[in-house]
Symmetry: C2
Subunit: 317 residues, 2 copies
């Protein structure tokens, strides 16, 4: 009954190396990457036609409602380093974006960050209702694991269980969900810079690290290559979060597609509140440079990911 | 960082066939099975000591707070049919109970069934708060997949991805979560008997079917054996739900450990409201007999599961 395996048959995507491998320019590559993953997501998501249509609609609304698709980009770009074909990479990218979408749905709930806007649209529980939003998030998590475990993701089951393990650890109590718990606690008491760093490495960094490592897992890369990518992901993830904190202070609702200034309003410790604007900006920039250095061993093939690190800190949305 | 793999090392459980394989009496076997799975769950759950201690506490509170452990029993009993060793079976049983615990946490939320009592104790969001409950459920789902994908669950990665796939499908939009969505919709409009059957097959039946099939997957059973078990699970799952509906009408809060009469109060279509008490009772009993018939090919080794089918409809809690 599941349609998680139908990408290959319905997509008409060949098993050729993906278009991204010809790209050397991040600004041109990002929309290519977005298109690849959104096509994959569209085909992997359940389709309407059942009484529980409301759930399917909410899953599709939240997952296909835009976004930078940075996690997908990290999966696809890291996959090009190891000549991984398009279908496996697109499926893993879709799984990462499903998890990201689920985490946003649950984070936006009234009991959590209570946010009415997401990507310039009503957040899932505003568009539907709270129960539907909770269930859509739950279902997107299950779908992500189903996609990873399916034979179309990789012919070798050992690779597929590695992906499942890496994702489960990245988004469990020691990863994304644990980080979100710390974030809720941070509304009640102020965190130190070390605690804030740990929070962000878990809340945002762990899924970004999974996305950057996914190409290495799919491509059965050497331990050395995996270590380089994981060091890159470590720095990029933190840089990303500092940039997010800066945008929360400097951005507008129109540009962000979400409500700015919420962190301060909720009394949350951010890198900006802890370091001040200027030092936070410097720190993000330094991390982007440091991230790029970890990719030296890949030569020019690492250019896209190097540019991505710079984009992450310079972005205005 | 994860402790999902530590069962083998911390448990001191040998790789001998499990105690359950000597049991022929369901009433004696159920507590043995509960003890095995609760020991496994205790060791697989994260332990306190981090700032996000609240999340860990909520996960442990919800997962270790008692219950019949019927899903664990189905995993362990089906595993004995194929001489599966104790550690793999206990790990998969723990994964099934983690998912069950997660589904109860989310079902009890104010936006869902809004239940303050679970197993005679405050439900998770009453004991902690809504945000913590949402996150604890999310983390338990991730933990279940992490446990299944770990090498200690089975030496063959192909078996582990089969388990991941089977669980993901059982609890996704075409399974448990889809069923819960239908259940929410049922508060707004009345469902037919066919729709109610479909709802329950998804909401409760799919995870029970996974639990009954798990032993066959772990034991690399023949297609014929898998089909027998899946037919058994199909009937037992529905019988279980009809019995649940009967208990909702006939039970007391003290006996049930949850609030009785909620389904009727919420205007939900149940088998009792659709069929009446007597016909519902007959139907459950007929399904239990039918379930047992599917196990004939296993001979006396199928006795435990046959008795379980009877217990499911005769239980008073």
């Amino acid at each position: 009954m599941s349609n998680a395996g139908q990408l290959r048959f319905r997509a008409g995507i060949s098993d050729e190396p993906m278009p991204l491998s010809n790209q050397r320019d991040f600004v041109a590559a990002l929309p290519v990457s977005s298109e690849i993953v959104e096509r994959a997501m569209d085909r992997l998501l359940p389709v309407n036609g059942d009484p529980e249509v409301r759930l399917v609609e909410a899953m599709r609304y939240a997952a296909l409602g835009g976004g930078k698709r940075l996690r997908a980009f990290f999966v696809l770009a890291s996959s090009t380093l190891f000549s991984v074909a398009q279908i496996p990479a697109a499926r893993v990218a879709a799984a990462a974006e499903f998890v990201h979408a689920y985490s946003l749905i649950h984070d936006d709930l009234p009991a959590m960050d209570d946010d009415d806007l997401r990507r310039g649209q009503p957040s899932c529980h505003k568009k539907f209702d709270e129960a539907t939003a909770i269930l859509a998030g739950d279902a997107l998590q299950a779908l992500a694991f189903e996609v990873l475990a399916h034979p179309d993701t990789h012919g070798d089951p050992a690779v597929r269980v590695q992906l499942v393990t890496a994702l489960a650890q990245a988004i469990g109590p020691r990863g994304m969900v644990g980080g979100q718990m710390l974030d809720m606690i941070a509304e009640q008491r102020s965190l130190s810079i070390d605690e804030t760093t740990r929070l962000q490495r878990m809340k945002t960094g762990a899924l970004i690290a999974f996305s950057c490592s996914a190409g290495a897992i799919l491509g059965k890369a050497s331990d050395a290559a995996r270590l380089s990518l994981s060091a890159y992901a470590h720095d990029v993830g933190l840089a990303f979060q500092i940039a997010d904190d800066l945008l929360d202070v400097e951005g507008t609702a129109e540009g962000l597609g979400k409500t700015p200034g919420k962190d301060a309003a909720q009394g949350k410790a951010t890198f900006v509140s802890l370091l001040g604007l200027e030092r936070a900006r410097d720190q993000a920039s330094r991390l982007a440079d440091q991230a790029a250095l970890h990719l030296e061993s890949f030569g020019p093939r690492g250019d896209l990911l190097k540019q991505a690190a710079r984009f992450v800190v310079d972005r205005r949305v």
